[in-house]
């Protein structure tokens, strides 16, 4: 097998200084949400690991994840694509097409067998042997199985690859599903979101690229560093929830004052994502900050948890949301635990409602 280049060697080849290399490592350390004492590990990884090969394939999708990826502010898309990884196959950016492009995929899979990172965007269309998603004259199921076989790591980018996404919403006409069960039993890192935050996307692939291992994940396969908190727990409008101050309608006085959007259907209380802490465009905004209730786009079945602008079902035993908010405002110490309970109750109620709906 031919020797592959490390990030440090790449810097040398491109004539960059040790200083700029270390600066790059500093940026990556903070990008991945690691503490500064991890810096030496990042440097070590960047010096010794080969420049990773990435194969990016598309199933049933909208290319919004690709687009999000190239919106990354740190690292910048050009740096990732040309200096940090070797993106050998991607429908959006690759120059080649047709037969030579497909042949290059086969060569890449063979040459880097067991070494490449497979990024998957989009769901698997399973119905009727997969004829509803064809590329290069073959089904996407065929392509996925082929590409997964020799992959060192598999990243499911976006809610479609992670859980099936929009096309899997009822009635799921094409039998679409997440990729998990179609990759030969290999572990899948799930990066849900519709789309995921740009820096989350580049952060995950850079983690794999730099450390040569999957990022620490929760039981569902989501990287803990990006999906460890509910948006509600990190939301800058949380104090208004606790104080019982809500926007009742779009553009009312509460909406103008930036109060909590819970009553307009916000899914922040049950959605695990980095919108509240990283935000979009490196802190510029996220839907709630722009006045739009969260639709829970990183949740597994969020498309069938509609209507989005209805408030969640009443709390039941816990009583009305205003009372809860006010009560928790007083009992701040109990606040976090109380909300955790409340959101579980809500979710159960919503699922019950959905079930009833389905059985109508």
């Amino acid at each position: 097998m031919e020797k592959r280049e490390s990030l440090w060697e790449a810097y040398l080849r491109r004539g960059f200084s040790r200083r700029s290399f270390l600066k790059g490592c500093v940026a990556l350390t903070s990008l991945m949400g690691l503490s500064t004492d991890m810096f030496s590990k990042v440097v070590e990884a960047a010096e010794t690991k080969p420049l990773p090969v990435v194969v990016w394939i598309h199933g049933h999708e909208c290319t919004g994840c690709d687009e999000s990826f190239i919106r990354s502010g740190a690292p910048l898309a050009s740096d990732v694509v040309l200096s940090s990884i070797a993106l050998e196959y991607d429908h959006l950016l690759s120059a080649a097409c047709g037969a030579p492009f497909e042949a290059h995929l086969d060569e890449t899979i063979a040459k880097y067998n067991g070494q490449y990172i497979l990024c998957v965007e989009g769901a698997v269309a399973t119905k009727d042997s997969g004829v509803y998603c064809m590329s290069g004259g073959h089904t996407f199921t065929h392509l996925l199985a082929k590409a997964a076989k020799g992959a060192a790591a598999i990243i499911a980018y976006g809610s479609c690859a992670a859980y099936g996404g929009i096309q899997a919403a009822k009635p799921n006409p094409t039998g679409s599903a997440g990729i998990e069960h179609f990759v030969g039993g290999k572990p899948v890192v799930k990066v849900p979101g519709c789309p995921p935050i740009p820096e989350v996307m580049t952060g995950v692939v850079m983690h794999v690229a730099l450390f040569g291992s999957l990022p620490p994940c929760d039981a569902d396969g989501r990287p803990k560093q990006f999906f460890g908190n509910r948006i509600h727990d990190t939301c800058y409008r949380r104090p208004f929830f606790d104080a019982g101050m809500f926007a009742e309608t779009f553009d009312d006085a509460g909406a103008k004052a930036g109060w909590c959007l819970y009553k307009l259907g916000c899914r922040g209380p049950e959605t695990y994502n980095s919108c509240g802490n990283l935000r979009w465009w490196q802190g510029m905004s996220y839907p709630i900050q722009s006045g739009a209730p969260c639709i829970g786009c990183s949740n597994a079945k969020f498309w069938d948890e509609d209507p989005f602008t209805s408030r969640l079902p009443q709390y039941g035993k816990l009583g009305d949301v205003d009372k809860i908010g006010a009560a928790l405002g007083v009992l701040t110490a109990a606040g976090v635990a109380g909300h955790a309970v409340a959101s579980i109750v809500q979710r159960n109620q919503r699922e019950n409602l959905i079930d009833e709906d389905h059985h109508e």
Partner: protein
């Protein structure tokens, strides 16, 4: 004769396959197939949902032209319900739409289309000092100084300006050299870099374009920030039926939109203008001039015969499109209509307007399925208006190969998941080229009374480009090059439209009006038990229409007829070939073993296939109102 398959077509959105038959002795394409090879059934997913949520679902048709479907969707629901949105909401939506157009066209040119014209391999032969000189010459010759009459220019100096120094281009060249030397070509792997077309341009143009490819890859994210400010994120910003979700307050401490947030938008508006005026347009003209002078004005196809547009940017208040709400009477760019026979000269061209009544007429817009993997019952007739549409799948597999392993598709039978949309039984090309041809023709025929500043700017753009290229408009416009050039002109226009509506937003806020939402018909108890509507948007890829039918507070049917469906549709036995197929059939192929011209002419349309594939009902049941496809930009 050689049968050539190109599948997948890359640097587009979605899954597209083309097959062409080439006479290798002459380079003539004698037949061509365009096939959408995937569909997701999103319109079916829409059934029984809350119409106020429709934008969120249907926006997921496409993440490249994100916002396009959300905008058409809220417009369709508001048309059905008769909701007039507040002025601020109209201005903000227009800024988001124009922002999308600039950014989308910019990405298309540099990251999806440029590598059909320029090559990093050729850039290695460039002299960095000469490239710097070229950059200066290009800026001197090809900056088109066309602007909206603006209230105030908030930019002290052009913050985003091309570097024209030998050192800069030397560093870009060194980077490309290092990548090529490493043997790991990444995104540049396996392409036909030895195609003769890459020798048309001097090496310095290649190096300049490669530098700008990299710069724009990093800059594109900064001009889309109005979506992040107003819609919370991008791709897929948030919308709301009745207005915009971003409440405005200049007095509250935690408002979604305040002066500081507007300043972010202002910066993005200025930046978009700089990037188009200082990079995109000069680069485009620099490449276009060489191609035009080499006589490369092929690939026109259907644009020579028939183009269609819807027009856009409602200026002020309106309450609907098909419901008599004044949408068409209130547009900044009145390109709603069809132009036929433009290639024969504007004197012989025929213009026919599209009106609100036309949208509702059963005979104007229809769809056929002769060569699409669907079937209509015999009693239904050959073509159906979208509101009477039936969608029943009939996958017949390829001509040779198996259903899951295709060799060749069946041009005599069914071969695509796209239906064939028609205007008065005829096929039309849509897109920025169509948009410009319609305005140009209307003006020439005296049917554009009191042209708006935007329409005047479009006419001026066409005049200037015709002069620079040294070719009359009816010759250069309906071509592969013209399609790519008009997209750039559209980006320049959209950058000014952004500024125009930003100024209008500020002026309206000055009056004390901060309203962003009309809540009068928010709750379903205020809606008619049954109603239907149409939402139009002149998307980056052309005229987009969404058709919704609401019954008892839920979506009964939802359909989108998307620009790529108009362009990429399969043939019709009576009406002939669609725009992609005809464009391929009017393109010269130098070497069938390296058919670079084929994906190149296809990319001149900026394909968006996820948008174009149809809805489908698994049980083959009749779906009352619609059935088509979505997508667009």
């Amino acid at each position: 004769m050689q049968h050539v398959v190109v599948d997948p077509i890359t640097r587009i959105e979605g899954h597209l396959r083309v097959e062409v038959t080439v006479d290798e002795t002459t380079g003539t394409v004698t037949d061509a197939i365009s096939s959408g090879t995937a569909w997701r059934g999103l319109e079916l997913v829409m059934k029984d949902r809350d119409p106020r949520d429709a934008w969120a679902y249907i926006q997921r048709i496409c993440g490249v032209c994100t916002t396009a479907h959300a905008l058409a969707s809220v417009r369709s629901v508001e048309d059905a319900l008769g909701i007039a949105i507040p002025l601020n909401a109209n201005y903000i939506r227009n800024i988001m739409a124009a922002t999308l157009t600039v950014q989308d066209h910019l990405i298309h040119f540099y990251h999806l289309h440029a590598l059909d014209w320029v090559s990093p391999v050729e850039a290695l032969n460039a002299d960095p000092a000469k490239t710097a000189e070229l950059q200066v010459a290009v800026l001197n010759a090809y900056r088109l100084d066309l602007k909206v009459p603006e209230e105030v220019n908030t930019e002290a100096y052009p913050h985003d300006f091309p570097a024209a120094t030998p050192q800069y281009f030397a560093s870009i060249k060194a980077k490309v050299q290092a990548i090529v030397a490493s043997g790991q070509l990444g995104i540049f792997s396996a392409h036909w870099w030895d195609h003769p077309d890459y020798k048309l341009l001097p090496p310095e143009v290649h190096l300049m374009a490669v530098a700008h490819y990299l710069e724009m890859l990093d800059k594109q994210r900064e001009i889309i920030t109005p979506h992040v400010v107003f819609g919370g994120k991008n791709p897929h910003p948030h919308y709301v039926v009745g207005g915009v979700p971003c409440a405005i307050s200049l007095t509250d401490g935690n408002a979604p939109i305040n002066t500081a947030r507007l300043a972010i938008v202002d910066r993005a508006v200025n930046m978009a203008r700089d990037l188009v005026n200082n990079y995109y347009l000069p680069d485009l003209v620099a490449i276009g001039v060489i191609y035009a002078k080499a006589g490369r004005v092929d690939g026109g196809g259907l644009a020579r015969e028939r183009v269609m547009a819807f027009g856009d940017y409602p200026l002020n208040g309106y309450s609907g499109t098909s419901n008599g709400g004044g949408y068409f009477e209130n547009l900044l760019v009145r390109s709603n209509g069809v132009v036929e026979n433009f290639a024969q000269g504007v004197e012989k061209a025929v213009f026919t307007p599209i009106t609100a009544e036309d949208l509702k007429s059963p005979d104007i817009i229809s769809e056929g399925v002769e060569h699409a993997w669907y079937e209509y019952p015999e009693s239904a007739g050959k073509d159906l208006h979208p509101w009477k549409g039936i969608t029943k799948d009939k996958f017949t597999g390829p001509k040779t190969g198996t259903p899951t392993m295709w060799e060749t598709l069946n041009e005599g039978g069914k071969y695509s998941w796209l239906k064939t949309p028609k205007w008065k039984g005829k096929l039309c090309e849509v897109g920025p080229l169509a948009h410009y041809i319609v305005i140009y023709t209307k003006a020439a025929k005296g049917q554009l009374p009191d042209p708006t500043w935007a329409e005047q700017m479009m006419l001026k753009q066409i005049e200037v480009v015709s002069t620079v290229l040294g070719v009359p408009a009816h010759v250069w416009m309906p071509t592969m090059l013209g399609r790519t050039a008009c997209r750039c002109l559209d980006a320049q226009l959209a950058a000014e439209v952004n500024k125009f509506f930003f100024d209008k937003l500020i002026a309206n806020l000055k009056t004390g009006d901060t309203t962003t939402m009309n809540n009068e018909k928010w709750t379903p108890d205020t809606w008619a038990p049954e109603c239907m509507g149409v939402g139009l948007y002149e998307a980056p890829r052309g005229g987009l229409s969404h058709w919704v039918c609401i019954k008892d507070g839920k979506i009964d049917n939802y359909q989108c007829i998307v620009p790529t469906t108009w362009n990429a549709c399969p043939r019709d036995d009576k009406a002939g070939h669609g725009a992609y197929e005809l464009a391929m059939m009017t393109t010269h192929v130098a070497d069938p073993t390296k058919p670079l011209e084929i994906p190149k002419v296809i990319r001149s349309f900026d394909p968006c296939l996820a948008c174009a594939t149809h809805m489908y009902n698994a049980k083959g049941e009749e779906i009352h109102i619609i059935s088509t496809d979505p997508y667009g930009r």
